[in-house]
């Protein structure tokens, strides 16, 4: 729709205005890292962040989420969270991940718990200003993003370009309507930022085009890398939990003290966890660490792509950082498959 250009002061004023009128979550510092958290002051917003510990998926699919309430005699009732909110500072790779999850949750049986939250969200994306130590979005084509968000912010020198793309974005940008439109030079500079980011966000270099991954994996099922790497795998699930495209969950019931009323909730789960594929009789369909370890790479690189046509790794690098055993680097693993496939 339109691209506005704001100076730092005007930008902060706008953020403050958003905070007073809406529920806003934005990126902030937590010790030496960054997290999305409720935003109280414009000054706390850190759009210069490198990467957040958890991706913004936590707002669409919270770690623990009540699905239903029940009364043991009367039955179940759905619980939906319909409160609108604004997410400030979503990086392009995370935006791509959100759009993927949108597809998966709305495909076939539509998950209204997810979809309702998603539809109530206004997403203010922002181009990366500082690359994190493990990011490789540049290799995955996700260093920049074209759609999915309501507003895209790009910092050019000391100014902010505010690219408004939807009605929700328009509504949020109400308070800045008298700001000037971005000039051509700024727009050109923005293109440069995009081009640069595609290069800069390659802290690890993938030696294969992402769209070739399904084929590559197609012939690597018995590759020794799975066993080799997984010997050091704790099955701790950190790589699943921090991943913006992982969304598996477990469903549990709990009752109140009266044993009458209670709730059914879902919690994040992960295919790396030992019990993920256990059925009655304790039979485990993925009993070996190697099987679980492999499944994750296949899911990202083959299974999801076969379902929605996109590779389900956006190159955020979070799993690389989170894995205390240093074995969760997709680039390293996929490159190994390329090298040894030759």
């Amino acid at each position: 729709m339109t691209v506005k250009k704001l100076e730092k002061a005007a930008f902060d004023k706008w953020v403050s205005a958003c905070i007073t009128s809406q529920r806003v979550f934005g990126v902030q510092a937590k010790e030496d890292r960054f997290v999305f958290a409720p935003l109280a002051n414009a000054a706390d917003l850190r759009l210069d962040y490198d990467v957040t510990i958890l991706p913004p998926k936590k707002y669409f699919q919270p770690p623990r989420e009540t699905l239903l309430k029940f009364d043991r005699n009367e039955g179940f009732e759905s619980v939906f969270d319909n409160q609108p909110f604004v997410l400030f500072g979503v990086h392009p790779y995370d935006m791509v991940a959100i759009s993927q999850t949108d597809k998966l949750f709305s495909q076939e049986h539509c998950d209204t718990h997810y979809v309702n939250r998603r539809e109530k969200a206004t997403i203010v994306a922002c181009d990366v200003q500082n690359a994190s130590k493990d990011v490789f979005a540049g290799c995955m084509g996700t260093a920049t993003v074209n759609d999915g968000f309501d507003i895209l912010i790009t910092k050019i020198d000391n100014d902010y370009l505010v690219d408004i793309r939807s009605e929700k974005g328009q509504a949020l940008a109400e308070t800045i309507k008298d700001a000037e439109d971005a000039d051509d030079i700024s727009l050109k500079l923005r293109k440069l930022v995009w081009a640069d980011n595609a290069e800069l966000l390659q802290k690890h270099k993938l030696n294969v085009r992402p769209d070739v991954l399904p084929k590559l994996l197609g012939r690597s099922y018995e590759h020794p890398v799975w066993k080799e790497k997984s010997e050091r795998c704790y099955s701790c699930g950190s790589c699943n939990l921090v991943c913006p495209t992982c969304y598996c969950f477990d469903v549990r019931d709990d009752v109140e003290w009266n044993l009458q009323k209670g709730e059914r909730y879902r919690v994040w789960d992960g295919c790396l966890l030992a019990e993920f594929a256990v059925v009655a009789g304790k039979h485990n369909f993925r009993a070996n660490r190697a099987d679980r370890y492999r499944h994750r790479y296949y899911r990202k690189g083959k299974y999801v792509p076969e379902k929605i046509g996109e590779v389900a790794c956006v190159g955020c690098g979070r799993c690389i950082t989170a894995c205390t055993a240093n074995i969760a680097n997709p680039v390293e693993v996929y490159n190994k498959l390329v090298d040894e496939g030759k």
């Binding site: 050091r232 704790y234 699930g237 055993a325």
Partner: protein, 247 residues
């Protein structure tokens, strides 16, 4: 529905896990709607032999404890081991790193051999009698305790996690202790505490015991990358007592 008759018994421990039950605060009243404590020395004066559920706190460190525990097991339909001391031996296991005579002399000097000061290497409850349910942790997580009590009242099999503390730690979005060059036992420790320690800036020292199949070899293998040695890891793992897991 008739209430579950519950009896609490304590052995060598700090009684902090029983204290967690007090820490239910208002919910104690709800708890008492479901269970009828018939013996609970720390809270009440009655004593009774008629109970369905025996909740055992503390480790077994003397022959006489062992006999008392066996008698309790005979009377109880369900026996629950409460807290680290009861489920794994807890800190009391540290004693087992030494010779018992040395331990006694260290504390009681020339009086060490007085009969009432006798002791033997720490045992967890399940090393003496059959345990039906374990509620791990030092101290226990009162939410987990409540959940298990409600499950028993409902006739449902309670489930405690068999995944690592990292799962809950990640959900809390903590900065990982390894990023500070510390050894955290989170990757091999059984979750269920809500990652209390890492959430307060402290490494996990494994008070809930390890997951069913901890990858200790991986842990050893990884140490050097963080500038640590096997001994550093061993020291951490021994704190809440699982020598056998390390070797």
């Amino acid at each position: 529905m008739s209430k579950l008759k519950v009896a609490f018994f304590d052995f060598a421990c700090c009684e902090g896990c029983q204290l967690q039950v007090y820490n239910l605060e208002e919910e104690i009243i709800d708890l008492l709607e479901l269970v009828e404590p018939v013996e609970w020395r720390e809270a009440m004066s009655d004593q009774s032999d008629d109970y369905d559920v025996a909740i055992i706190e503390g480790s077994i460190t003397r022959i006489e404890d062992e006999q008392r525990l066996k008698a309790i097991r005979e009377k109880a339909q369900v026996l629950i081991a409460l807290g680290a001391c009861a489920t794994t031996g807890g800190v009391n296991n540290l004693k087992n790193n030494f010779d018992m005579q040395d331990v006694k002399e260290c504390v009681y000097g020339k009086d060490a051999n007085m009969p009432h000061l006798d002791t033997y290497p720490t045992k967890a409850v399940n090393e003496v009698v059959k345990v039906d349910y374990m509620i791990p942790g030092c101290p226990i997580n009162i939410k987990e305790f409540s959940y298990i009590v409600r499950c028993l009242a409902l006739g449902k099999e309670p489930k405690i996690p068999d995944y690592a503390v990292c799962v809950e730690c990640k959900m809390k979005e903590n900065v990982c202790r390894f990023e500070y060059g510390e050894i955290c036992l989170g990757p091999i420790t059984r979750a269920g505490c809500d990652a209390k320690c890492p959430s307060s800036g402290m490494w996990c020292f494994g008070c809930r015991g390890f997951v069913d199949n901890p990858n200790v070899n991986a842990a050893k293998d990884v140490m050097a990358e963080y500038g640590k040695t096997h001994d550093d890891l061993r020291g951490k793992m021994l704190l809440f007592g699982s020598k056998q897991e390390f070797e």
